[in-house]
């Protein structure tokens, strides 16, 4: 199982690095959104709550622009059937999930320092801020992986992905915004249990997705 998983993962990375356009567009989208927000704000003094809302909106839409690509590419290049014959559904899901987690960690690692730099804001609780960004990104990647697989099979994929992702993503955005705001603001330290909620939420989504992915990938 592990060798198939790593082969799939290696294949995805190789294809993406050979044809960098999709990844470049994802990174460019994330960067340009961050720059346009900071440009629009024009050095205005914003509250920590507004900063955290803006940051997570940028992260959310950056995810929307790139995370369904890994499954859509398989459908567009008509390789999904071959992949289904080569590996079982669980392997495919895990390899795509790992790919998306790594890709989105890179996007978050690009967006967050850019935002802090251009908006000239520095978190008071830096460790909490980093942990929140990491746990929030993990949750976003775990949700968008399974939803990306659904969208790849549907028509009008681009807009549908945002429509179906947003309601499921609200708990993650809600908690992440609250935690980011607390870590920017100072005062009482942010709650550890909210951070644990994000990790637990990701765990539940990944478990359910792992169990149900075969119903999406293979025609019943």
């Amino acid at each position: 199982m592990q060798s198939r998983l790593f082969k799939n993962l290696r294949k995805d990375f190789l294809i993406e690095f050979r044809n960098r356009s999709a990844m470049n567009i994802s990174f460019a989208f994330a960067g340009i959104t961050t720059l346009s927000v900071s440009l629009a704000c024009g050095g205005a003094s914003l509250t920590p709550q507004i900063h955290s809302v803006l940051l997570w909106i940028i992260i959310f839409f950056s995810g929307m622009s790139g995370l369904s690509h890994i499954f859509i590419r398989e459908e567009e290049e008509r390789t999904s059937l071959f992949l289904a014959l080569h590996s079982d559904a669980e392997n495919i899901y895990l390899s795509k999930l790992i790919f998306n987690i790594i890709l989105f960690a890179c996007i978050t690692a690009l967006v967050t320092p850019l935002y802090l730099f251009f908006m000239q804001v520095m978190p008071v609780y830096r460790l909490y801020f980093i942990l929140t960004a990491s746990a929030g990104s993990l949750a976003v990647a775990s949700i968008t992986t399974i939803l990306g697989a659904m969208v790849a099979k549907a028509e009008s994929r681009g807009s549908l992905f945002t429509v179906i992702s947003f309601p499921v993503m609200i708990p993650v955005l809600w908690i992440s915004i609250q935690l980011t705001s607390d870590s920017l603001e100072g005062g009482s330290p942010p709650e550890l249990r909210s951070l644990l909620f994000l990790l637990a939420f990701s765990g539940v989504i990944i478990s359910v997705s792992y169990l149900t992915f075969k119903f999406i990938w293979t025609e019943q």
């Binding site: 949700i143 099979k153 549907a154 947003f166 149900t212 119903f215």
Partner: protein
């Protein structure tokens, strides 16, 4: 089933009880009568979502009656969507009367809007999979994933964040803070709206069954 036809008797009775028999609430006065419509439609919105989710799980685990399960999940979601819109409308009117504005992003208002968004997302996904042979499987998985988030909105958020919303029927003390006549009217209304949902749901399922039969016989309807 005959039981759902009781809605034709119960509904006029409940309307009479709501406007004539139940006393007005102490502070809100006659405006409080919207309670007898808002709470039942909110209950049906959640119940329809649960029915839809159960049908989706059964679709995935069962070998037979899959086509039937697929349209039963869809029909419950479609009916639930209408009740959710009614919940939002009646809730906004009540909010305007008691809090002075139609919308406040109160935790409970947020949770019902999220439920509505989930219904919209599910119905959008279902319609965009029109030509796909695995339409039932994909949309069922979406509903199951969406169901994971619902306890967060219904049970966790309203208890963590302060809310202007009155106590729910099942509150932390486990008590119902209503006069006897108001309580009877409310429960009669909940039963009636549940019957109404059941009646509409059965009709929708019958129509779907007939459509499938017509498709199988190559009739063009």
């Amino acid at each position: 089933m005959l039981i759902y036809r009781l809605v034709f008797i119960f509904m006029p009775v409940v309307i009479y009880m709501s406007f004539m028999w139940a006393p007005p609430a102490a502070i809100l006065g006659d405006a409080s009568r919207i309670l007898y419509f808002h709470v039942p439609v909110a209950w049906v919105s959640v119940a329809a979502f649960i029915v839809s989710g159960i049908q989706s799980i059964l679709f995935l685990v069962s070998e037979n009656k899959r086509r039937e399960r697929e349209y039963m999940a869809y029909n419950s979601a479609a009916a639930g969507m209408v009740f959710t819109i009614l919940t939002v409308i009646t809730g906004s009117i009540w909010a305007k009367l008691s809090w002075g504005s139609y919308w406040n992003w109160d935790p409970r208002e947020t949770s019902i809007v999220v439920l509505m968004l989930i219904y919209i997302a599910y119905l959008s996904l279902y319609s965009s999979l029109k030509e796909h042979p695995n339409r039932g499987g994909i949309s069922s998985v979406y509903l199951i994933i969406a169901m994971i988030t619902m306890p967060f909105f219904i049970f966790i958020i309203p208890r963590i964040y302060s809310s202007l919303h009155p106590d729910t029927i099942i509150n932390q003390e486990g008590k119902i803070h209503l006069e006897a006549a108001m309580r009877i009217t409310l429960f009669a209304s909940i039963v009636t709206f549940t019957l109404l949902y059941g009646y509409i749901y059965r009709l929708m399922n019958r129509i779907s069954r007939l459509e499938i039969k017509a498709e199988e016989k190559h009739y063009d309807i």
